[in-house]
Symmetry: C2
Subunit: 197 residues, 2 copies
DNA sequence: ACTATATGAACGAACGAACGTTCATTTAGA
DNA sequence: TCTAAATGAACGTTCGTTCGTTCATATAGT
């Protein structure tokens, strides 16, 4: 018998796809086995329990997500805020595309495990932004905290694309995604008020 | 035997509390019965299936959520955008507080039912904002679409408080909730750029 | 006013199906 | 031939749902 590593990957892939669509408790180990083209018992040669399989999925996605060659990380280091606002929008879009499955699993963890497996990710958030910020510098109005501003911009874009892609509310602003990137950029830069008012 | 209406309410309350914390498939009808102080079989006198019980919960919350005496609806009609930006922030905070359980159930529906029950809510969203907008008027820069701007502001606040309250990431901007309302207002009004730059 | 009857809410044991997990056995690469 | 990966039947449990029964109350006949 040979392909143990390959089967492990097939199981992870199948589990991700099913958990994503039906949640954790709504997906059975038998379904995972069938979708992976693997026997039921074999799952337990690779993962001690169903929950450990789920946790492994989150951990492997997380490692990839925080790797430095991901689009958002590159924008953080390559350009200065707020010049990179639209680039942040574009990178957010690509991130939600590439990691949509991961984000769905984060929601699964929040809903079915009360965020047991992913709590620490959010806690590390602001700290991460601070570090990025210190490294890159920023040129914003003096009554605006640059770290908070960068978070606000990135989260704004993120939430837009999460709505569009994960919640499948296409065009919920009545414009294309690229138009929305521009529109958000316009507002984040100069605000909604008429000038000199 | 009398109290059928009261028991119905007790079942709904118990189910909401359990679904909220453990998700749909992670909650059994037996748990609901115990928590409601009602027999297992009696649940089926009030709701034909477990899923219909879940759908009823969503529907009843939705009706309350869209009632005109909710804080957000009042802000929409009482003041003009963008003068009401901070009021939108405050109302978003109150809405997430009051409807936190409902919002958790929306996530449950998205995760475990692929948004089967709540899809239409999001689809009606922009239309609703348009109507509000037409009724109230708005005074924004002429290159800014006022409906999109109002959505952007409201969603921005909403997502902040959903993070704080539902995902329990307290203080993720490194400031209090009231400070965040002011900070967001500052950025939405005038943007992050230094003046005359 | 009193009693017999009809109603349907509430109960909880029971049902078959499906669950996560185990393990004795088979299979195939070294 | 030896060994570890792979298998799927089997196990005990729990699931959503059903159903025969109980019994407090409402209704109707006298």
């Amino acid at each position: 018998m040979k392909p143990t590593a390959e089967n492990r990957t097939r199981i992870l892939k199948a589990a991700a796809s099913l958990f994503r669509k039906q949640g954790y408790h709504g997906t059975s180990t038998r379904e995972i086995a069938v979708k992976a083209g693997v026997s039921l018992g074999n799952i337990y040669n690779h993962f001690p329990t169903k929950e450990k399989l789920f946790a492994t999925l989150l951990a492997e996605y997380e490692a990839e997500y925080f790797s430095p060659d991901q689009p958002l990380a590159k924008v953080f280091t390559s350009a200065r805020f707020p010049d990179n606002i639209e680039a942040l929008g574009q990178a957010s879009k690509e991130t939600v595309e590439r990691f949509g499955d991961y984000m769905r699993l984060i929601y699964v963890d929040m809903v079915e495990f009360d965020a047991k497996h992913i709590g620490r990710i959010f806690l590390a958030m602001r700290e991460r932004y601070s570090r990025v910020q210190l490294a890159a510098g920023a040129k914003v109005a003096k009554d605006v905290d640059p770290v908070a501003a960068m978070m606000m911009v990135t989260f704004g874009y993120f939430n837009f694309f999460i709505m569009e892609r994960l919640f499948k509310v296409k065009g919920h602003y009545g414009m294309s995604e690229d138009e929305a990137i521009k529109f958000f950029g316009r507002v984040y830069r100069r605000g909604v008020m008429p000038p000199n008012d």
